[in-house]
């Protein structure tokens, strides 16, 4: 069972309190972008065995979206952070580097 800390309420929410929202840090491609970029935005997703960044919604709680960094193979949670950001905060990146040296995910490492 996954337990994530909601950065808005400050509570540790059980997986059943949450709604998964897929991959985090997608850059939207809209009118004017190339077909390839639009296709990537719509369909192409990271599917790592290891470090992953996801969107979650605290649906039975405050209703806010937040981001979570976790490992898909061990279910270790590195941390959660508010969604109003373009990249993971440095302290979470540092924490991942502590146990997963040399990790990379999309454009982040």
């Amino acid at each position: 069972m996954l337990i994530l800390h909601c950065p808005y309420c400050g509570v540790d929410a059980d997986e059943t309190d949450l709604h998964a929202g897929g991959q985090a840090h997608l850059k939207r491609e809209g009118p004017g972008s190339s077909d390839e970029a639009f296709e990537d935005y719509l369909f192409m997703r990271e599917n790592p065995k290891g470090v992953h960044f996801e969107r979650w919604r605290h649906v039975y709680g405050c209703g806010k979206w937040f981001h979570a960094a976790r490992c898909t193979s061990t279910l270790e949670v590195f941390g959660t952070y508010p969604a109003q950001t373009l990249e993971p905060p440095q302290d979470i990146k540092d924490k991942i580097s502590g146990t997963r040296p040399g990790w990379s995910w999309g454009i982040f490492k």
């Binding site: 808005y8 309420c9 039975y60």
Partner: protein
């Protein structure tokens, strides 16, 4: 005027832990900037209590404030005072971006009373209810069984639970079944 009736009309399931539908209660969902001084003062003026910290509720009698999310407060008032309260909010927050809605008839309020009320809730919600963690004043939005609910502790032996009116029957039966099954005893060293 029509005769307002609460979801379960005051149904009671007596026992070691008593489940009691509270009857009508005025509830106002107030969304806006919770750090705004005008919003704060209208909240405290209506409820007579201080603004609660995140994850907390301040309730005295039928009045109170519950922290629902970073931009949402639940204002509890007696059922008959809701219209006056809404007028007061509209007047005081006229120039502020906000939303105030009467949700009294969309909700049900259920009391869980008794020494083992903590066990009854703990069996149904994915929440750490250890006495050191969840205390009178703590407030949590979560789910009970299959339905969304929120609860807080009025005192050390009493929980107040709110849920949607449409699922009041389910929530009541769930709590009643939990109470009939008896205490787990996990929190006895209270």
């Amino acid at each position: 005027m029509s005769n307002a009736v609460s979801a379960l009309n005051g149904k009671v399931a007596p026992g070691e832990v008593t489940i009691r539908e509270a009857g009508l209660r005025g509830m106002i969902t107030l969304r806006g900037d919770l750090s705004d001084s005008k919003l704060k003062s209208v909240c405290t003026g209506l409820s007579g209590v201080d603004l609660p910290m995140p994850g907390h509720a301040n309730c005295v009698g039928e009045k109170g404030l519950c922290w629902m999310s970073p931009d949402e407060m639940l204002v509890l008032v007696p059922y008959a005072e809701v219209d006056a309260a809404l007028e007061l909010i509209a007047k005081n927050l006229k120039k502020k971006h906000h939303l105030a809605e009467n949700v009294s008839d969309a909700r049900a309020l259920i009391f869980v009373e008794g020494e083992y009320s903590r066990d009854m809730i703990a069996k149904l919600a994915p929440v750490d209810l250890h006495p050191d963690v969840f205390q009178p004043g703590s407030f949590r939005r979560t789910h009970l069984g299959q339905v969304a609910a929120a609860f807080w502790m009025r005192d050390v032996d009493t929980f107040e639970v709110i849920c949607f009116r449409s699922v009041a029957d389910y929530a009541f039966n769930l709590l009643e079944t939990s109470a009939k099954a008896g205490a787990v005893g996990h929190f006895n060293a209270r």
